[in-house]
Symmetry: C2
Subunit: 224 residues, 2 copies
Amino acid sequence: MTDPDPARLVNPPKQSRSRRTLERIVGAALDILEAEGPDALTVQAIVERSGSSVGSFYARFSGKADLLEYLGDRVWREAAARWEEALAAQEWDGLALKELVGGAVTLLGEVGRSRTSYLKALDRAPGTRADAYTAFQAHVLRGIETLLLSRVEEIDHPAPNVAVPLGLKAALAVLDVSDLEDPQAIPFEERVAEAQRLLLSYLAGVSPAGAESEGQVDFFDIWG
Amino acid sequence: MTDPDPARLVNPPKQSRSRRTLERIVGAALDILEAEGPDALTVQAIVERSGSSVGSFYARFSGKADLLEYLGDRVWREAAARWEEALAAQEWDGLALKELVGGAVTLLGEVGRSRTSYLKALDRAPGTRADAYTAFQAHVLRGIETLLLSRVEEIDHPAPNVAVPLGLKAALAVLDVSDLEDPQAIPFEERVAEAQRLLLSYLAGVSPAGAESEGQVDFFDIWG
DNA sequence: TGTACATCAGTGAACGCGCGTTCACTGATGTAC
DNA sequence: TGTACATCAGTGAACGCGCGTTCACTGATGTAC
């Protein structure tokens, strides 16, 4: 997953011409993945959409499997970099558990909404044993976990080491947008608020004080 | 999903011999699905495992797609029947919200653990637009939802119609056993207890009283 | 009970299609002198 | 600046493989008389 040598997967371009071709291929593959799903991701479709040719494809990649791995690696790196950035952009030290939960859940929501759909689609691509999405999610959760556990004295649950990961998993499920196209689905903003409420009451046994819309932290706009 | 006419999918057997062959084919397909995953589910593999032949296969099904749909329909019906049975086997009327949550979560846990893995694998089979698993899960959740909403006066959450479905979704995530092979994963029994606690504190703002292991309702053995 | 016939069931070689991959070839770019 | 050459880049027809599907054939079962 954290391969220090992506050159193992691509034959590095030696002229700007082939570098552009590579980028077009990568872009086309991600486009297809998003628009038509993993089953439509054939070498033919990729080279047609990218306006190149099978020969050019195989000049870069030794096979389709390597392309998939390369895509997974790239998207994962990008997502992880943005995530670290978003995490670092916020000052977490002074916050109470309530604010921490609010911010953390908001971040989780943005992650779920972001282009990590690529990662999901990649994991489902046939002939791949990749689990880039699962790995990324685990990575993110681990980060938030340590954050929340830094306020362990405010957690009422008798076993914080169990409650924090499970609670985050639950919050993620509440945020899950895979059924959002359903017309009667609960809108995303409401889910964020509910996920915050759920996590807070589970960890601290506290209902969010005050009116309905309170206790919800503003969105960060992470993903450009 | 609830097709009243499965004969649309199979050519009905007219002798006991072919009925047995059909059963062997269905059994082999489910075996392969469970043991090797959807990608290994080829017509060749099915007929080899079932000790029959391609010709026999096409004497029953007009194509592989019909087999998949037939399997989805069958497994769905079986799972749904067991579910209704388990739901009916329990007396829910006199229970308080706390007991209701305990029983409901336990039931959910058993469903997740049961052979619905077939349904999950079927949904992932290539070339299928089936969503039998999602549909089944929705079916189950709807049942539990009405159950919990019958104690709406005990729910402190200001919007029970939102909180109940979201809370159940969250509980389901806590119970999710897809990472159970991970050696450091939280054991299933503990998850049941935590899912109960989570749901109860979210809906009623109540931490389970008393010691750790209390508040957990005994398992029902639904799935034989 | 026996025989003739129709229908059902089972078999596996052969076919076609879509896919990933190879390869012989043409053209573009960079470099040496 | 020009020329010769090597390397890089691009092309698309052709190949092979695995899959779902077809089909001509053999054998089993049921039924009529």
